[in-house]
Structure formats: C-alpha cells, structure tokens
Symmetry: C3
Subunit: 467 residues, 3 copies
Amino acid sequence: MTSTRAQGRHALFPADPHAREIAEELYEHVREAPILSPHGHVDPAILAEDTPFSDPTELFITRDHYVTRLLHAGGAPLDALGLAPDQPAEPREVWRTLAANWHRFVGTASGYWIAQELESLFGVEDELSPETADRTYDRVASGLAEAAFRPRALFDRFGIEVLATTDDPLDDLARHDLLASDPSFRGRVLPTFRPDAYLDPETPGFAERVERLLAATAQETTFAGYLTALEARRAYFLQHGAVSADHGVYEPFTTDLDPARAQELFAAALGGSLDDAEARLFRGHMLFQMARMSAADGLVMTIHPGVRRNHHRPTFARFGADTGHDIPVRTEYTENLRPLLEAFGTAPGFHMVLFAVDEAVYSREVAPLAGFYPSVFIGAPWWFLDAPDAILRWRSAVTETAGFYRSSGFIDDTRAFLSIPARHDTARRVDAAFLSRLVTEGRVTLPTARRIARDLVDAIPREVFKL
Amino acid sequence: MTSTRAQGRHALFPADPHAREIAEELYEHVREAPILSPHGHVDPAILAEDTPFSDPTELFITRDHYVTRLLHAGGAPLDALGLAPDQPAEPREVWRTLAANWHRFVGTASGYWIAQELESLFGVEDELSPETADRTYDRVASGLAEAAFRPRALFDRFGIEVLATTDDPLDDLARHDLLASDPSFRGRVLPTFRPDAYLDPETPGFAERVERLLAATAQETTFAGYLTALEARRAYFLQHGAVSADHGVYEPFTTDLDPARAQELFAAALGGSLDDAEARLFRGHMLFQMARMSAADGLVMTIHPGVRRNHHRPTFARFGADTGHDIPVRTEYTENLRPLLEAFGTAPGFHMVLFAVDEAVYSREVAPLAGFYPSVFIGAPWWFLDAPDAILRWRSAVTETAGFYRSSGFIDDTRAFLSIPARHDTARRVDAAFLSRLVTEGRVTLPTARRIARDLVDAIPREVFKL
Amino acid sequence: MTSTRAQGRHALFPADPHAREIAEELYEHVREAPILSPHGHVDPAILAEDTPFSDPTELFITRDHYVTRLLHAGGAPLDALGLAPDQPAEPREVWRTLAANWHRFVGTASGYWIAQELESLFGVEDELSPETADRTYDRVASGLAEAAFRPRALFDRFGIEVLATTDDPLDDLARHDLLASDPSFRGRVLPTFRPDAYLDPETPGFAERVERLLAATAQETTFAGYLTALEARRAYFLQHGAVSADHGVYEPFTTDLDPARAQELFAAALGGSLDDAEARLFRGHMLFQMARMSAADGLVMTIHPGVRRNHHRPTFARFGADTGHDIPVRTEYTENLRPLLEAFGTAPGFHMVLFAVDEAVYSREVAPLAGFYPSVFIGAPWWFLDAPDAILRWRSAVTETAGFYRSSGFIDDTRAFLSIPARHDTARRVDAAFLSRLVTEGRVTLPTARRIARDLVDAIPREVFKL
C-alpha cells in the first residue's frame, strides 16, 4: 500500500502515549501489506481500458454517492452537481460547491478519505475551502494528466493484489479475461456473481431478464430450467475467476419450498401475478437456493441485507439508482436465516459472510451465529458503518463473542477507485488501535497482537474469500 | 451562560492530558455563548409573572419527574413526595428523602445537574446526605428569597437568548405577548405549537377538543374545516413568534389519504367509532398533514416519537401524566416517514427534526436520512439520552455518516428551569470532548474544531430552528 | 476471592495513568470481597459429593459450551470434541485441539477467563499453543489430583459465600439439604426454582411433566390445581433455601386471562391441541402467574428472555441442548411486561430482575423501567454480553438513566465452576474501570466511588436477591 501520511502519523490511534506506541508498532507491521479487496464496485473497464480519469470532479464527487448525498442534504440540487443525465454541470463549479461545503464533511468517513487522498496522492495539505478550491482543482487536474495517475499505474502504486468487481450474471466478463491474459498487468481482478435482479420478482423487468437468462443458457421456462440456468452462469463466473456471489436483499429471509410450489410461484412471477407475500416467499426460497448452489460450487455467499433502496422515488425517477437515498432498516438474521443454516450451515466448504447496516445485530445475532456455524463469517462494517468509530464499535461488539478469526477481513465496497488505499489504511489503523487497547488492558500479549494484526489483512480474508 | 465550576474545571473532559487540554480550549471558546433553547417545557407564567420560586423541594424535586421517578424506584411512594394533588407533603421532609437517597442519583444525568446547580447557583459544595440535608435546604431556601433568584433575574444570569415553551393550540399566548412587549425583559420567549391531543383520536376528550378548535376558528365540522382550523391556529402561533410545531407520537407512521377517506375517518373519530387500525391511519395522515402545513407555513416540524406514555395506569389514575413512567419503545423511521419524505422531503424551506429515544436508530436510520434529505435534521439526544455518555455515543453514531451540520444543536427539553444552564453546559463540554478526540486522532484540525464547537451552539441551532 | 494475578495487575483498567491508579484503588477495595453468586448452573452434586474433577478437558472444554461452540465454528466437529453421548474422545487430543485453535479465543471472554484460570489456579503463564499443549495438560491434570483442587476446597479458596444452582421444580433438593446440614461445609448453596418446561406447552413432554407435577402435589388436573401445584413446589424450594425463581422465555410477553379462558387453554395444552397463538397466550399468562406468585411468596423473579434455543436442529438431534447454538433474538420489554407491571410492579417486596442479550434494550427499555418501578432491577450483562467491553457498554447505557442502585449485581450464570472467580474478578475490575472514569471526569467523588464499588459486590446483590 502506498505510504499515506494524511492526517498525521498517529491518525486514528489512541491518545494515551503508551497505547499509541503499541498501535503504531502494530500498524507498521501491516502498513505496506498488499491490499486484498474481495468485494467492491469498481468498474473493470477503467482498468481494462486504462483510460485517464477525466477530471477531479468526476473522480471525487460525481461518481461517489457518499459525497453527492451530503452536498444534496446541504442544499445543492443533484442536477447542479452534474447527476442529471441530460444536463451536464461545469466540473470546476461542482468542485467549488464541494469546497464551499467542506465543513459538512468534517468528521465524516468521506471527508477523512478525501483529505487523505488529496494529501497522499496529490500532495495537497490545505483544507478544502472557497479560497483553496481552484488551486486544489488545478493541482489534481494536472496530476491526473500524468501517466502515474492512469488506473493501472495507481493499481500498482496502491499495492492491490486482488480486486473483486460486481457483475451481472449475463456479463461476458471479457474485461476480466483481458486483464487476466495481459502479461503486463499483474493484479487479479475477479468478477463477482450478483444475481439480485434475477431473483426478486418485484424488480422492474424481472420477467424479461429471466427470459434472457434462460435463452442464454438454453433452458426451458420452468423452475428447474431457471435453477439450471443460474448454476450455469455461476459455473461461467467460476471459470473466469469469481470467488463469490453477492446478494443485496431487503431482509435475509429464507425458506425451503417443495418443487411444485416453487414452480407455481415461478410461473406467477413471470406472469406478474404474485402478491406481496408470495413474492417474499419466492425471494426467500431463491436465497435458500443460492446457499444450496454455494455449498455445491464453492462460491462464497455474501449477504448485504437491510437497505430500503431508492427511498425518495422522485429522485430515483429523475436521477436513477445509487444517488444517495438508500436508507437502512432494522434487520433480523437469527430466525430469517434458520432454514438456510439448518440445511447448509455445517456443509463442508460452504462460506457465508453476513454484512449489516444495523449495529444492533452485531453482538446479538451475527457474532453468536458466527461463533457456532463454521460457514458463517462476520462481515466487516459496511456502507455507513465503514468509518473509524463504527469499525471500533463493531470490533468491540463482535470480538468478545466470536474472536478475530470469525470476521471477514476488511472490504472496501467502493466505486471510488482512489479511495481504496485510504479505506484499507483506515481499517488497518483502527484494528491496530483496537488491538493496542487489548494489549494495554492485559487481554492480548503483544506477540499475539502482531500475529492477529497481520492475519486480519492476509490469512483471514484469503481463507474467508478463498483467494 | 453563567460560570459553572461544578464538578471541577475539567468535568466531562477526557482523561488524557493532551486531549483534555484541547477539550478545555474548545470549551472555553463556547462557555459563555448565549443559550438558545428551541425546545422545552418551562411554564411561560413563571417568567411573565416573575414570582419567586416557592421552595427548594418544588424547584428541585416535585416539578422534575426525572427526580421523583428514581425516588419512587428506590421505595418512596409518590404521595410521600408531594405528588398527590390532594395530599401535600412537608417540603423539608421530601428534601430529606432526596438527601437520604442521594447515592441513587450518583452517575445519573439528574444527579450531575443537581450537584452542578447546587454548587454554581447556591455555592453548595458538600454532597447531599442525611447530614447535609437541612443545611443545604436552608441555604437554597434563603437564596430563593433573594431578588437575584427571581425567574427573570435568573433568565438574564443564565445568558438565555431564546427560550421556546410548549403550548396548546388554543392557548391565547397572552403571557408570550406580555413578555415580548415588556421593554424591561430582553429575552425571547417563543411559543411552540403542540397539537398532539387534537390529532390523536384515542386521546381522551378528542371530540370535545376538536369541537372547541372548530368553534374557536369558526370552521364547520368537516375534515376540510378541521385542516383550516389547524392552519389558522398555526398562523396565530407564527404571528406570536412561534418557530416550530412539536409532535409527540408513539410511532412516526405517516400516510397520505384521499380527502374522502380522510373525511370518513374524521367523522368516525368524532363519533368515537374508529377501530385501532383506523385510528392509526388517521394519526398517520395527520402527521403527514402537519408536514404539509410546515412546508407551507415554515414552522419547523419536530418529532419526538417512540414513547409509551403512562405505562403504569394505576399511577396515572392517581397522579396524572408526567409522573415518571413514560417508557421508550423500539421505533422505526425509514419506512414510516417515507410517504412524508417523498411528498415534502425536498420542499424548499421545510425543516424536520427527528428525535429518538431508541439509540439503535442513530446510525441506522436518522443519520442516513439527514445525510440525504435537506429537510431532515438529527435531533440532539433526548430525554433519557440527554446525558454525558449518551451524548457522546450519539455524536459517535451520527457524525461519521452525516457530519456535524445535519445535527440540530442541543435542546434541553426541560421543565426544570434551574437546570437549563447545567444541561447546556454538559452538552458544550461533551461536544468539546468529542471534538478533542477527533483532533488528537488527526481527523479534524484544531481551527476547524473551534469553528464547529462555536457553530454547534450558535449558527446550527439558528439555522435549524430558524431563530 | 482468590488472588488472581492473571493477565497483569492492571488488567482491564484504563490506559491513562491517573485513571488507572484510581481504578486500582477501587478494585483493591473489593478484590477480596466474598463472592455472591445468585444465579448460575453449577451442578450441586459436585459439591455434595466432592468428587475430584476427572480431567482438564472435561473441566475446561467439554462442559463449557462457550468453548466447544467456538472450536466447532473453527472446524472441529462436536463428536471429535467428545460431545457425542455414544462416542468418547481422548481428553488429551481434545485439549490439543483447543491449544491448536487458541488464536480463535484471543479477545473473547472465554479466552480471557481460561488464561486467568490457568495462571491463577495452576501457575501456567505460557499461552496455549501446540508447543505448550501437553505441558499445560499435564500440569493441570496433576493439579486436579491434589486435595486442594477438590470442589469443596476450591469453593473455600474462591471465597464463595453464596452459590445458587438452577433446579427442576420436582427436584427433591437432597444435595442442597446435605450441604446445608454438613457442619464441615460453610458455604450456602441455594436451589433456584426453574419452571420453564412446566409452563411452555410447546416443550416436548409438557403434558407428562405437568401430570407428574400434579401427582407429586396431589392436585387435580385443572388449571386451579396446576397453579396450586406450582405454588406448593415453590413453597418447598423456599423451605430449602431458594431465594429466586428463574424464567427463560423466548419473549417476555405477559397477559392476564380470566380463569375460564385459562382453564380452556390448560386443557387444550395437555391435549396437545393449542395453536401457536394460543400457546403464546398460555405462556404469557403463566409468566403473569409467576409474577403473582413471586409477589405473594417473595421468590425473586428473574427473567432471561430473547434466545432462540437449539437453532441448528440437526445438532440438537444428535448432541442435545446446550451445545452452543442458542442464538439471541430482538426482544421487547416495554409492551410485553406492561400487564405484569400494572398488576404487580409496585407490589411491596416483589423483585423482578430483567436480563437481556439484546443491547438495544439497555437504555431504551430496561433502565427506564427500573428507573420507575421499585420491583424492577437491571440484570447484569448476560451470556454473550458477560465480557469486559460488553459490561462497560452496559454500565454506560444504564447508569445515566437509573444509577448504580437499580442494577442487580453481577451474576456469573456459569456451569464452569472454575471460571467463577475469574468472572467475578472481571466484573469487579470493569466496574472499577467504569467508576474511575466517572471520577476523572468529575462526575463522582472518590469516596462515593469507593462506597459504590463495595455496594456493587455486597449490599446491592444482597438486597436484590434477598440473600
């Protein structure tokens, strides 16, 4: 990982000098370790084509809905930020909007990452403000024009060993193949099977999408054909390097249905005649089927539940998805996952990583499940919770029940390519801070803390994600 | 704000000497800033009439159900504390009960405030105990006899600039007018529109109350007339200085109904024939209507949801409301508020402050909502959570998602007039402590922390509450 | 309590030197105080018979499902750990499995206790590892052969004054009588009335069990007879020293039913014809009845709700209950307990201790309830939450609302006899750490902190559990 001085050598370490010293030692032990990024949303095209990033605004603002949402909350309409498909905004003006609203980002994870990126990658040490806006913009823009800031060069500079993308089941994965076969590119860019839109009958276009899936795999329009089609595409992903299948669901409800009932619901789903309860049953059975397939083919099953997507329909209608108004909801794992876990929870080689945006479940449900089921791993803090204090709360909540070795290792889950090292660096620093506290409290010896710090960025993600 | 030495110059600051020094500097920056109290329950009569406080017991105990509830839990019947309307208690005896039970208050927010008030206002440095009870009582009683302890003198001494009360929609606001027109009184005492009892058909006396409302505004007994009547009273409040409308609901459920259905439910509500589900629909629609009116007339909408009022009916029957057994329940915001936010969430000038007594919603629902909707602000910790550790947990939970500038600024929400400076001082100290941690962790620069500390007690509440 | 040097003199104390010094002083004040253990699962036979412990593996691993569950999660099948009734495992091999997986326990509560026990009782200072496995096993095994390691000797050495067991309502309590009448044994070993299996009609064997209960107490098969039978067995327990009745329920739902309806459900329960909703009503009414009986006979009512027992049915079928897959669920207290509390919440002498495995309820429901009802006490952190960080979170969550004197005092809730001193020592250290923070923050004076530290291990549990 690139050296990041960012907000100081002691950033995110505890205040107490002795604890800080231990944290620093542990962090130094992992600072330069290669980045394993087993889940994220970087577009593989930017690496396959290695085209230069266009401008600072697209890179830091427009593409990052963590950033645009907070500008929107502060009063900037999304079209003024360049999010309207039909109405471009002047990049420098949008950048000035960010600078004028920089105080809104202070204390947030996004603010911390952006400051770290500006400093470590572009040497910008001034805080963003109306006064520094243009100067910073120009500095970043001139940096981006250099060869050293082309995506592949950054990939190397960031020390990324593995980067997983997130892909449609019918994607031909040509860009992944291109990268894998290019001798000049040494990283591993792995596809991830993400079938949500093919599993939820309430997604717009569900029937057409399933028909395309069946056609692509030469299957009949039956539930059995549908399962075979999904299995075929999973196999295709596996052949092209995939290690996991990702599932973004409203709730992690699972249920096993007999084949006749499943066929009935499948037919009704294609016909658009399911009621709400039936649609829920169908989704719950398909999540169960995904576990069955993962237990069989070995793709690690990751579940990202508990988000009401596109909360503000008028914004969705005009600006589309991923525009900052996906809002978490209360989530239940213990009862919802019971059918799945009774069937596959102890299946050899089955791995399931449970992410959460509901902190109440950390100590109550996720850690106890991972503390018994060999298949269950505690997902690293996700989305809004992927931030220094939140990571620390998560470690505190899950470790006493399940230890360090049932956690998944950090995932950055980002579409903001430049933020990858800052995010991993944050996780490494916070884990060092957490471990240093356990050392000063006499709960872990220093040599063991060193081993754990290392395993958290290396052995653990390799095992959990079968890298 | 009056100088409060209370539990020491470093009270509530972190233990680490360096972090403590930063906290102290930040705190000194805001210690004397005027108090803005945009939500509370002080009776405007005490200021309008400026009558001396009667005795220490009424002031510190009887009027403060934070205090009586814990004495009750410790075994003191409420009638022995003077809460029975028909059975007065000897004030000095009640004070002795508090002193004998003082250990029960150690570590609580109430205990902290009372100790601070006794010291900063009355110079009492001894801890309360059976030995110090009478001495302290006498000291406070003799203080209260002085002119400097009359309500208006304290208002000045506390440095209060704005104090909002909470008022019935049919209140004539004469006491507010009197204060506003009195050239010798310089503070602003603002009414707040609190229509709960006119919106919930399950409140005892609902129909009669609505009839009074309609009569007072010369409206017909139709749903349209009812809305017009509410609008008219809101306008009256606005003319008399109100900046907000407050809503205490069991759940923040909202729904839009067509006018015919609303009329139907309204008629049934007056006739007392609504079933539970219909009553819920009616309440949900009225909360929706309140948002519509706030978007139109500009009154800031504050929502205080999630409390089962009067949990112990036998106590309610004998002692009335606000006697210490209002108990929080799990609360849901994301789905419940969706209809309201789809309709008004991006309406220009609409402000909605979401309070919570359910800590699980801070990072999961409230901060993400405020991180997108320009109308949504994160209410400061409320009720049981308005205490040093809880405030710190709240800042930690919401700031990484939404920053400092989506929070509401502190509200004291108190009917205990004397506790106002202690409560604001607590919030200022805790915010200084929180910011000092971010500074020592390299996440905020010191100059920016200074600006934020100041904005939290000044620019932010002024903007959120349109002061 | 035996002196435990364990992970260092400063274990679990804060890092800041000044706060640490205060914590140490407070801890020294209670370090040797007698252990009061008012709730746990130690088998009274081991004390009655005083037979030597068989081997290190049974003592530290096989009997402790906190330990076996995490080995299972790490890939060790339960039969390889010796849990299959029909398939013994070689103790030394199982011990080696623990040693090889020791890294999995680092940071967990179980890992902390085991390390403390190995050091303080057996003088083992090396961390467990494949290299130290055999050496440690031999050391423990040779220790166990000594008279000083017989259960009664340890009971004395641990400084246990009171130890409550958990017993079936039809138990004859002969072992408790034997201990009580033995002049050479000075401790108090008290039975606890645990009627779950007699109250939940969905427990396998419910009808037969109730018939046995009725036969044993010479009651007719009516609801009235059933209540009388339960009262009779409670009286028997009281006569044999019991101070409490314990209730492990899925949810703390309570309801009062009229006698005719109760009789109807009782008959259907015995006939096995209750549907799910009726079974829930019956359970809810029986929890209500248990409160009525506690209010009458004085047994302290403890409620341990919110756990889905035996989550993985295949494991339950093969290995039985208490094998590591009891998983918490979201729990609701405010509404569920309202009928019970309206009826008995202010009944003189009624004590009810509310435990929780759902941290969200601490500040939201349990502390507010205990802050009003004289009968309600806040149960100490339980099960997965009985660990240093979790205890600290709990104190932080409940104290500001309800103070220290509404909490129950620590319970160890353990079946691992050797872990009792380590668990109580952890609680004492963590409480000292918590108090030391309040002292350094100017919220509690040092003399008051000393009194509280002492009361937490002495006056408070004695009062709450009527010891």
